[in-house]
């Protein structure tokens, strides 16, 4: 009836063409560049990848990235789940609470980095001041190698736990009330309810939340690190995006940086595949 139906693919064309030109094609170019030096002019085979395998900074950046993502996402999942369970009821002022929860996610990452840099500051920072009130001399959070990454993780947890809360809350609403009622009538304890009903029912949502959060954490935890530690001290908080950025735009080694960003892409792909395999559920079924 609607004569536009004939041209339905035409409507998609601008978007698809745009994405092809501005995302897919550049990534293919980068892929080619990872086997070359200076643009795609000179083919050097696997030289860039072999270099990376022998580059201790790259290996450390890779491990740092995995450390950051795994720790941050795991902590966010646990705290986020707890808060989602807490909020999953009717109460007055619910929308106000949600507004507060929304805020960390919409503040610019550079501003977040700035705020935490001040809070962590060893002399004027509030964190160490509060610690001193209970008699602890606070360490230099961002400039001690051992503590720098946990400090970054804490920033990420502050900013993105809300994402987990919101996504998991959406999931909790899909659990049929009748199952919970039935289990309660049968005398299930709270823990049993959680372990044998909530958790299995939420599996798909947990998988999606973890995958989306992890993809974002792999790729976009840049400004927070750049504003606070810039990858330091030493290479303690150097992640793949940071190192690839420096390799490309500070050391001007595009081939190497391209190889590095391709490695990042494959790590993400591997991570997502692994999470999906572990959960043994098709992602799309739940979306």
């Amino acid at each position: 009836m609607n004569s536009l139906a004939k041209h339905r693919y035409l409507f998609l064309l601008p978007v698809l063409g745009y994405l092809l030109a501005f995302v897919i094609f550049p990534t293919i170019y980068t892929w080619k560049m990872s086997f070359s030096t200076l643009g795609v002019n000179k083919f050097v085979g696997l030289k860039n990848y072999i270099y990376l395998a022998h580059d201790p900074t790259f290996v450390q950046a890779l491990l740092n990235t995995l450390y950051l993502v795994c720790a941050a996402v795991a902590i966010e999942l646990v705290i986020g789940f707890a808060i989602a369970l807490l909020l999953n009821r009717q109460f007055r002022g619910k929308s106000l609470v949600f507004w507060f929860i929304l805020l960390p996610m919409i503040v610019a990452p550079v501003v977040v980095g700035l705020a935490f840099r001040v809070l962590y500051d060893p002399t004027l920072g509030l964190v160490n001041h509060l610690l001193s009130l209970i008699g602890i001399t606070g360490p230099e959070w961002l400039t001690t190698a051992r503590l720098a990454m946990p400090s970054i993780i804490l920033i990420d947890v502050w900013q993105w736990t809300p994402f987990m809360v919101l996504l998991l809350m959406a999931g909790l609403q899909y659990i049929p009330k009748s199952i919970i009622e039935a289990a309660r009538v049968d005398g299930a304890t709270k823990w049993n309810l959680f372990r044998y009903i909530t958790l299995p029912q939420m599996k798909n949502f947990i998988v999606i939340a973890v995958i989306f959060r992890a993809m974002d954490c792999f790729n976009n935890t840049f400004a927070q690190i750049f504003m606070t530690t810039r990858g330091g001290p030493g290479h303690a908080t150097e992640t793949l995006p940071i190192y690839a950025y420096r390799t490309a735009f500070v050391f001007i080694k595009f081939g190497r940086a391209a190889a590095m960003s391709m490695m990042l892409f494959f790590v993400i792909l591997l991570f997502v595949t692994a999470v999906r395999r572990v959960s043994r559920e098709k992602l799309m079924q739940a979306i």
């Binding site: 339905r8 501005f22 980068t30 507004w99 507060f100 996504l167 750049f226 979306i287």
Partner: protein, 278 residues
């Protein structure tokens, strides 16, 4: 009986305490930026941090007095606004088509668009940097706008798709039966009905672009520097001026917070990918 009510009271008090803590933790770093921006330098550098102080607008004056700040506000605003408008213009027809017409491999398509999130920004930006330097788009507003559109389109299509699916089709069908031209239906009926959805997507895109740092750091230079890059470069001066930095942070955050007051629900939906509705 009495014990039971006591228990109930204790639990609801505990609940309120927990809620308050969640809100406090969420808001505190933002609050800290705002208050530090209002302190005089001596109060900022004071340890222990001062809770009570006389607020001043000195830091705001300092930061707004820096040369080029106005231009940078304008850059950020113009780039974010243009990107949002283009995103909407491109995403709306695509989402409409996906929502209303039967299509082969529709699910694959939707999934493909979301999986673009896997592409590292670094991998995308290197070719742009090289190409833009060649064709003269480096350090131009258009260059950054083009890239921001690409980054934000997938989510926009996805969100609008969810929104359009919930609009009643009956109205469109009856208009078509009455002999209206489908393009007219699209422009006169569907478009106005989608206004809130479009506004939500537009604002989410605007905020994303306004906050964006990485692409701006790589692709802007003296002429088009945005606020996020300015904030960063301002910090790496020899002596860190916390007050003015915080004032700039405040000025960057306030518009976003004002948006969030009016579009809380839409922003939450957008950030959680439309709460995965399907």
């Amino acid at each position: 009986m009495n014990k039971q009510t006591n228990n109930k009271v204790a639990r609801s008090v505990g609940f309120v305490v927990l809620l308050t803590m969640i809100c406090l933790v969420s808001f505190f770093p933002i609050f800290w930026i705002f208050t530090t921006a209002l302190k005089v330098p001596a109060d900022v550098m004071c340890s222990p941090p001062k809770v009570f102080f006389t607020p001043t607008l000195n830091s705001f004056q300092t930061v707004l007095g820096k040369p080029g700040v106005g231009t940078m506000f304008l850059n950020s605003g113009v780039i974010a606004l243009s990107a949002s408008l283009i995103v909407i213009a491109l995403a709306f027809p695509a989402a409409y088509s996906l929502a209303r017409f039967r299509m082969k491999r529709k699910d694959d398509l939707a999934f493909m668009m979301l999986s673009l999130k896997m592409f590292p920004p670094v991998a995308v930006v290197i070719p742009f940097y090289i190409m833009y330097n060649k064709i003269g788009l480096y350090d131009s507003q258009i260059g950054l706008i083009l890239l921001y559109v690409a980054v934000n389109i997938p989510l926009a299509v996805w969100l609008l798709l969810g929104f359009l699916k919930e609009l009643p089709v009956a109205l469109e069908e009856s208009a078509l039966v009455d002999g209206a031209n489908p393009i007219q239906v699209l422009l006169r009926i569907v478009l106005p009905l989608s206004a809130t959805g479009l506004a939500a997507v537009g604002i989410l895109t605007f905020i994303m672009c306004w906050n964006e740092f990485f692409f701006a750091l790589v692709l802007t230079g003296r002429n088009t520097r945005t606020l996020t890059v300015f904030l960063y470069s301002f910090m790496t001066f020899r002596e860190i001026q916390w007050g003015p930095l915080m004032a700039l942070g405040t000025l960057m955050t306030l518009p976003v917070i004002i948006f969030s007051v009016f579009f809380r629900k839409q922003l939450i939906e957008g950030i959680t990918l439309g709460a995965l509705k399907e």
